[in-house]
Subunit: 181 residues, 2 copies
DNA sequence: AATTATCTACCTATCGATAGGCAGATTTGA
DNA sequence: TCAAATCTGCCTATCGATAGGTAGATAATT
């Protein structure tokens, strides 16, 4: 039921906080209070805020890649990533962690910025993979950008139906479109 | 040549800072130092950080709407907004202010969140306007979401060519696509 | 006994914000 | 016309709160 590992519980709490206010929007004290320890004890598990945020981005990346898996067609890749972001919007009701970090890029410690960059490059690679056999109508960057933007905009105007309309628009174009180049 | 009005200079400096680190990523002291006054003097022009950030979002919205103007066709609307975001990516080399604020939504003072929401609803309305006569292939939300996401992703992976590829993908789909419903 | 995990207690730096003052320009009123 | 009053735009100094981070004692586990 409860998370056994304190390190995991810290990551969970920090992720929630970071997905609300971004890197500068959460603190060791808040996270510590969330998990029921003192802020000094958080430093035992993660020596610096940079280390904590980097671990956050890396775990988030791995989890996202697991959801995407190894799709066999471009359309299947599209649907997997759509579902990943739809879950973020409708179930977790939170921004994408690395989307938020990416927006804050210039205000991030370099190590966190690098981990954030990896999230995007690795997801793009995973989305692009099935296109090796068979052309895809859109670049992998286009899929990811659109979903990241749809999540951001839908949340900003407090209307999750925006997300679904954007996905519908893009998917229709994706199916109708023939080879791009 | 130089900005006469201190209020304007404060807004300019704060906008640069906010577009780097977000709402929690800039401070009165930094902004004050940028314009050559003391942080206490910034409070003379903007009583609270909420007031400053709200003014920032409102000014950003007005300026964006001026760039978009009143396009006469859906495709013209698309191109105007594309150019707005391309300028942000390639010339200013900064994230969209309200895109960043939107990502941080849950960590924002309510007044700032509302001003951010207005940015998106008003831009969507401006993009949608020419569609009253003549169908548009995509919803206005799709245009805005995709560009916001493309800006975010391109910056996150330090590759501005991503932005252009996404815009090219979307524009091709936009031209090829026939009436959606 | 040694390792692991958490504690108390504290540090320095910075945060947003307030109080009160002061020089200079502007307005007001006799 | 000239002096009193007010306003503008900044200043210094300081507030309480909070930030990330550290040292060393203590408790728990093996």
């Amino acid at each position: 039921m409860a998370d056994d590992d304190m390190r995991t519980r810290i990551l969970d709490a920090a992720e929630q906080r970071a997905r609300e206010g971004g890197y500068h929007g959460f603190s060791f004290r808040e996270v510590a209070a969330d998990v029921g320890i003192k802020s000094a004890s958080v430093h035992y598990h993660f020596p610096t805020k940079t280390a904590l945020a980097t671990a956050l981005a890396e775990r988030y990346t791995e989890r996202s890649l697991e959801v995407i898996g190894t799709p066999e067609t471009p359309l299947q890749a599209f649907d997997r990533v759509s579902e990943l972001f739809r879950h973020s919007a409708a179930v977790e009701r939170k921004m994408c962690l690395c989307g938020l970090f990416g927006a804050e890029r210039d205000g991030l410690p370099p190590e966190v910025a690098k981990a954030t960059q990896s999230y995007f490059t690795r997801l793009i690679a995973a989305i692009q993979a099935p296109s090796v056999r068979g052309e895809a109508p859109f670049h992998a960057e286009t899929i990811l950008s659109t979903l990241e933007g749809a999540l951001l905009v839908a949340r900003a105007i407090h209307d999750l139906s925006v997300f679904d309309r954007v996905v519908t628009d893009l998917r229709r174009a994706y199916e109708n479109q023939k080879r791009p180049t």
